[in-house]
């Protein structure tokens, strides 16, 4: 339930009262998390493995381009999206079956070109199309729901150096919401993993 609420908060922040911040910066603002910079792919790859092994769950790696196998270095599990899409496909096909047989065979039997009422042949394209339509919608909106997009702003954008992530830097960001987060230890972990320009990010309200 709480996770559902926190996901809803991504879309409708005005509906949910945020819990009291766990960590507050010297200026009194909520702490979003800690970022660390890396300049090379192997460095950020191994640093990600360190963070994964330290047991963090709410964190991300930001890179200018996709890095193969990063998901295993970060310990990301396979997405549930295929199952959701499969469920949507079955729903779509069943919808087509019910709507077509229900209307043209049971509710309003009507002779069309002398074909049988319950002929399955003309229903197949609709079954296929609705299956594809529902699957496509589930893929798109399920993806958005799972990754919390679209959103208007992200606290990381307030960090000037973060913008380099679309150019020549690799950045690991660990969120303060993570149960293992600790301002001192997390910073030490990132330092040990080889991160530079480690900074605390404030969540400007």
């Amino acid at each position: 339930m709480t996770s559902l609420l926190s996901q809803a908060a991504d879309y409708f922040p005005m509906l949910v009262r945020k819990p009291a911040p766990r960590f507050v910066s010297e200026s009194g603002a909520r702490v979003h998390g800690i970022v660390a910079e890396f300049t090379e792919v192997p460095a950020v790859f191994h640093a990600a493995e360190h963070v994964r092994d330290a047991g963090y769950s709410k964190w991300d790696v930001h890179t200018p381009f996709p890095i193969h196998d990063m998901e295993s270095a970060m310990g990301i599990k396979t997405t549930k999206l295929p199952l959701m899409a499969g469920g949507a496909a079955i729903t779509g096909v069943l919808t087509a079956i019910v709507l077509q047989w229900g209307t043209s065979d049971i509710l309003y039997p009507m002779v069309v070109q002398g074909k049988p009422y319950d002929a399955w042949e003309p229903f197949v394209p609709i079954m296929f199309e609705l299956g594809v339509l529902f699957t496509a919608f589930m893929c798109l909106f399920g993806m958005l729901a799972l990754n919390g997009l679209p959103r208007f702003h992200h606290p990381l954008f307030s960090h000037e150096r973060f913008l380099k992530v679309s150019d020549d830097r690799f950045i690991i960001a660990i969120e303060a919401d993570d149960p293992k987060f600790d301002p001192v230890q997390t910073r030490a972990l990132l330092e040990k993993a080889g991160g530079t320009h480690i900074a605390l990010i404030e969540d400007a309200e």
Binding site: H68, D69, G86, Q113, E121, P122, V124, P125
Partner: protein
């Protein structure tokens, strides 16, 4: 002016992606790779005979049964059984040729380690092609065994055949089949020969030659396959026509070759070969292609059926009524469920595509389904005049002919595998296949 002339006369330098030194270095890296050990990429004829000899014995027994049936019961029924087998193995051989040409034309890297086995099966296309030439000559000589339109008494005053006589006539039929056979044999043998020459010499220019040759071979392949399917399968009923027919048979080709290559590489892995060269990553991709062409087959065959059902034109619908109403409806259901719904629901799972053993089982299953698809095309036209669709002696003759040819082809494949290394050992893109990985 003289400057320009000098420039124009200069021969264009041969463009290569990497320098000769880099190429030599890459070759030596590959040659020193532990996976390229002699035992891993070669199969002795002794080991191949374990599977091969059993297949030969089974094939000879089945063909003997088929021959006995031909002379004691019905020549036509035996020929129908043989044709089911021939078109199943032709699908495998032509599909292999298709994949080899597509991989060459698209410069595919991941598939290099499975390409030699595809080349082997493609170069065996001469077996079904030769049988088809013999069948064509026998059909013409005996005034049509399965092909009714060759019968002069049927042709007499038949307006439909007269209208199609420019195409549907005996001599042109035999000439066409010989032309198809030449196209297939030339395409497959050239591509395999260049691949083996690359192994022997390390000359990477053969890959470029093959790419050029394959790209221009694809239209010839497509047309010959389509018209061969017209000649032997669609013209079983000379009244019937479907513009989808060539694609319908091609769907079986692409699917059959993928199923067969999964089976062959899985058997080689069980024999301790191709370790680390054909990995679960390759099976994942081969499984995707199997899945894709299962859906493609369903899409094509349903489209064909759907349009014929809807438009309801007598000379088209009778193809389906002859099957569905005269005792072959069960085979229609087997095709719907067994050739599409079941494999769709099985092959959709990632774990199954990444498991070589289960995928090899699915390969065998799909080959059986392709043979049954050929039976669905051929058999009803043989039994159309008979009261009962299927009796036990008939079933034995069909099964014996089909399985005899399929196992005979299997024996030839097992012999061919031993003739060369199991993978192209010096292919310019081999390093890509050796580190192939699916990042999904």
């Amino acid at each position: 002016m003289s400057q320009f002339a000098a420039k124009a006369n200069k021969p264009a330098p041969v463009q290569t992606a990497i320098s000769d030194e880099a190429w030599a270095k890459r070759l030596s890296t590959i040659a020193n790779d532990a996976r390229m050990h002699e035992d891993n990429i070669n199969l002795s004829s002794r080991s191949a005979a374990k599977v091969g000899r059993a297949m030969l014995v089974v094939a000879l027994v089945f063909l003997l049964v088929s021959a006995v049936g031909a002379f004691s019961i019905s020549f036509g029924h035996a020929l129908a059984g043989i044709e089911i087998g021939v078109f199943t193995v032709l699908a495998v051989a032509l599909g292999s040729l298709f994949w080899v040409m597509v991989f060459h034309a698209l410069n595919a890297g991941w598939s290099i380690t499975i390409r030699r086995q595809l080349e082997n099966m493609a170069s065996l296309v001469w077996i079904p092609a030769l049988i088809l030439v013999v069948i064509a000559i026998v059909e013409v000589a005996s005034n049509g065994v399965l092909l009714e339109w060759l019968d002069p008494s049927v042709r007499e005053g038949n307006h439909l055949i007269e209208a199609k006589a420019a195409y549907l006539n005996g001599p042109f039929f035999v000439v066409r089949v010989i032309v198809y056979a030449i196209i297939w044999v030339v395409l497959s043998n050239r591509l395999r020969a260049w691949s083996i020459k690359t192994d022997e010499t390390g000359d990477r220019s053969y890959g470029r030659k093959a790419r050029f040759f394959a790209s221009f071979g694809i239209p010839f392949f497509a047309l010959s396959l389509t018209f061969c399917a017209f000649d032997f399968l669609m013209s079983l009923d000379y009244r019937f026509f479907s513009t989808m027919w060539g694609v319908y048979y091609f769907a079986s080709c692409a699917l059959g070759a993928m199923s067969a290559i999964v089976l062959v590489t899985a058997l080689l892995r069980t024999a301790g070969r191709l370790q680390g060269l054909v990995t679960e990553e390759h099976y994942h991709d081969m499984g995707k292609l199997m899945f894709g062409f299962t859906v493609f087959w369903a899409y094509i065959s349903f489209s064909q059926y759907f349009l014929i059902w809807y438009s309801n034109i007598p000379e088209e619908t009778m193809w389906f009524t002859a099957r569905k109403e005269l005792g072959w409806n069960w085979l229609f259901m087997v095709m719907c469920i067994g050739h599409f719904i079941a494999p769709f629901l099985i092959l959709i799972f990632r774990g199954i595509k990444r498991n070589p053993k289960i995928l090899a089982f699915m390969g065998v299953y799909m080959l059986v389904m392709i043979a049954l698809d050929m039976a669905w095309i051929i058999l009803p036209m043989v039994t159309i005049g008979e009261a009962k669709a299927l009796d036990v002696p008939g079933l034995v003759i069909y099964a014996a002919g089909a399985l005899g040819i399929i196992f005979l082809f299997g024996w030839f494949v097992s012999m061919k595998v031993t003739k060369s290394p199991l993978i192209p050992t010096k292919d310019p893109l081999l390093h890509e296949a050796m580190k192939h990985k699916n990042y999904v």
